[in-house]
Structures are given as C-alpha cells and as structure tokens.
Symmetry: C2
Subunit: 249 residues, 2 copies
C-alpha cells in the first residue's frame, strides 16, 4: 500500500512540491490494490462510475467503439497514469478501459478523492495538471490522425511511447518491450491492421524501426524524428525540475 502512495506522490510531485501535511493526507487516501488479467474490462462505456484507478504496473487501453464494432483507441495508459478520472466527473463513462497486459492497479472511491481535493486543494490542482497532460496527448493524437500520413503517424506514435516510457525508467531509448499488437497500433492511428503491417515494413526496410515478437527496436532515432516531425513538447516532461508554487502556499 505504501507502493500506491509512492507512485501517486511521484506522479503529482512532478508538478509541484507538497508539504508534509499535504503528503500525509495524500497517503491517507487508501487505495485498494488489485491485480487483473489481460483483457479484463475495467470501465465500460455507458457505465456510471464511482471509482477511478491509478496504474501501478502494466499497460491498459482506453478506447471507444462505434455501433458497428469499429474501435478507436484514445490512448494507452502506463504506470502512474490515472484511469477513469474523466468518467467519474462526467458521471457516466464516455469510453471503455481494458487491461492490455496483466495489470496491477490501485482503486479509489471518487468520494474519497473529492474529499482529498477539498481538504488539500493544491493536490487537487496537481491532479488537474495530470489530467491536462493526458489531454495534451489526446490532442496530439488528433493532429496525428487529421494531418499526417500513415508513416508519419506511426513514427510519431512510437516516439511518443518511447518518451513516456523513458520518463518512467522503463526500457532505454531504443529497445524496449511493447505489448501492443498491430491491431492496437491500427486502432490508435485510425488505420487498418494490414496497412500498419505495410507501414512497419516500410520503416524496417529503411532501417529505422523493427518490431519483432513484442520487442520494439529503434535503429535510427534521428531519422525517426525527422519522419515524424516530432517534438516532445506536448508531453510536458522537459521542465527541468522547475515547479510551480500553487495558490498562496
């Protein structure tokens, strides 16, 4: 359980430094740790939601489905990411969430979270920030799909994943485990599985990226960035430890 608060404190601590008092209240937010199998549905679109989660370990997908079964992935969630926060505020989930890998997560009651925010508004603002950071990623996906072609999209998405994982200390820059199938890439990039396959081949033939048996290897980081027109700006990682004094603290 100490684990939970370490992850949460680390996440929110990226935004601001908190007082002993605030950290104590954060620690008092008892999250119930649970582990789920791959493919377990955590949140289903349309559900009325009373709890949200923080990912401790593993990957999850956040997606929507059209009536005819087409799927659009909104984002993949990694350790430290919050799940279902938006849905709890909107009361009814506007998207589904499913475990991609075996998943370890902590569950919170929304009421407890609201109480924490009301007692320690500066923590509330930090949660706010985390939400904004997620939204920035979604917005970047929007640009990706609206205005980039298949190769640019895939390159950009790979670089986004790489940057996010690196910050978490998972895998090094250019070779890491990635549990996504080609279908997952297709559904996040708005393409077909078949075309993702060809696009990966394109990048492989040009000696830029290979993806083989769950392991993604970046052969030419520089060329990849050039193809994607990538800047890690939107991930809000590069603030060199500068933090913001919130409110009157």
């Amino acid at each position: 359980v100490g684990e939970v608060n370490r992850v949460l404190a680390r996440k929110l601590g990226q935004y601001a430094d908190f007082s002993e008092d605030e950290l104590a209240d954060l620690a008092a937010l008892e999250g119930e740790v649970q582990e789920v199998e791959p493919d377990t549905e955590l949140i289903a679109e349309g559900d009325t939601i009373a709890r949200c989660y923080i990912v401790l370990e593993g990957w999850a997908v956040c997606y929507k489905r059209l009536p005819d079964g087409r799927r659009q992935v909104i984002n993949f969630m990694l350790p430290g990411d919050l799940l279902g926060l938006r849905s709890t505020l909107l009361r009814v989930a506007d998207h589904s969430v499913k475990a991609t890998t075996r998943l370890q997560l902590a569950r919170f009651l929304v009421d407890d979270l609201h109480r924490l925010i009301c007692d320690q508004p500066r923590i509330g603002v930090a949660i706010f920030w985390a939400l904004c950071r997620d939204e920035a990623i979604v917005v970047e996906h929007l640009v990706n799909m609206g205005r980039r072609n298949a190769v640019e999209r895939l390159a950009h998405f790979i670089l986004e994943l790489t940057a996010r994982l690196r910050v978490l200390g998972l895998g090094n820059q250019d070779d890491y485990a990635c549990p996504l199938r080609q279908e997952d890439f297709a559904d996040v990039l708005g393409l077909t599985t078949i075309h993702i396959n060809r696009t990966f081949r394109h990048l492989r033939e040009r000696q830029v990226v290979t993806m083989y048996r769950g392991s993604l290897r970046i052969l030419d980081h520089h060329k990849l960035i050039e193809i994607a027109g990538f800047s890690d700006h939107f991930l809000d990682h590069g603030n060199d430890g500068r933090k913001i004094p919130i409110g009157n603290a």
Copy 2:
C-alpha cells in the same frame, strides 16, 4: 462585469449547486472584459501563459499547426467555454487560439484562479468538470477522424455544433448562423476544403443539410442522425438537472 459572473456561474452551475459564500468568491474573481476583432490571436502555441479566458460572445478556434503549415483544429469554442485553461496548467501553450468572429471575452489571471480553487475547492471541482466536458468533445473528434468517413464526419460534427448551440439558446434546432468557412470544417475533420465542398453537396443533394452564406439549415434531422450514428451522450447535457454533491458539502 456582472455579465462575466453570470456566464461563469451559469456554466459551473450546470455541474453543482453552490452556496452563497462560494458564489460570492466566484463573483470576486474579477475578470477583465475585452472585445477583439475576428482573426485576433489570443494564445499562440509555445507561449508561456499567465491568463485564461471565458468566451462571453462569439466563436473562437483552438488549433495546432505542423511545421509545413498544415492546420488541425482541435475544437471551436462557444459562449461559456473556457480558453487556455489547459495551457496555463502546462505552463506553455500546446495549441493556439484565434477569434473566428468578433469576440467578447473575460480574462482572468491564473493566480487568481488558483486562489479561488484553493479557497473554494468545490468550485475547483466544477472547473475540473468543465475541462472534462471539453476533453470528451475532443475525444469524440478523435473517434470521428479515426473511424468515420467524410459524410459521417461532417454529419456528426454538424450535430455536435447544433446540440452545443441549442443548450446555449443560440438558434433553434434546424436553422442557425454558423460563421465557419469550408476550410474550417476541413481542418476540424481532417479533410481537404475541396472534399468538404463535395461532401456538403452530397448532403444537399440528399436534402439533409444546406449551408448557404453563413447559415446552416438542417432539412432532415432524423436522416442526419442516422448518417452520423450520433448520440449526444458525450456532451454531458442530458442529466435532467440532476447535480452532484461535491465533497462534504
């Protein structure tokens, strides 16, 4: 200036009921009202932002640009919508905002906003909610672009706009002023201007929608919904006035 607080209170009041005390503090958040000409840039991607806005009247666009000039519109902002909130939290703007029409808006200092949130956390949660509502719209745009064809996209977007305007009491169900050019439709839907033109023709020829000289007319609401596969679910309007008690209030 009373205008400002009426708009803000109305917006946030959709989420929860507030006490006299809270409303007083909300009213104390003095926003500086200003009016800008069409095409004025309010926020530029990359700027460090210290203020955010609420739209009182008019339309604004929120967009990103690729290095080569391609533009992707994230969303159009209508009266009551908050501008730049995400950017202030991320410190540096991840998108630009421009006035589409002549625009009347109120400007707030982030610091004042943070103070309000810290003093009245329940208002903070309501602002939170407003942000989530915006994000839900962006997510819906994502699905739109990733998994729908041109006709479906346009139909869906028109219905989204219609629903948002109706809630604001602007224009009735099926005939209203819309200041967007075909280029704007193209950039929000990830298509070319030319193809938007053809798609409008498609809808016109089937007697579903016409768009002539800034006025959008829905001829067949039912067919439009059918084409789009539309549900207004994601706009979080349909909660029948049910509100949520936040925290320990």
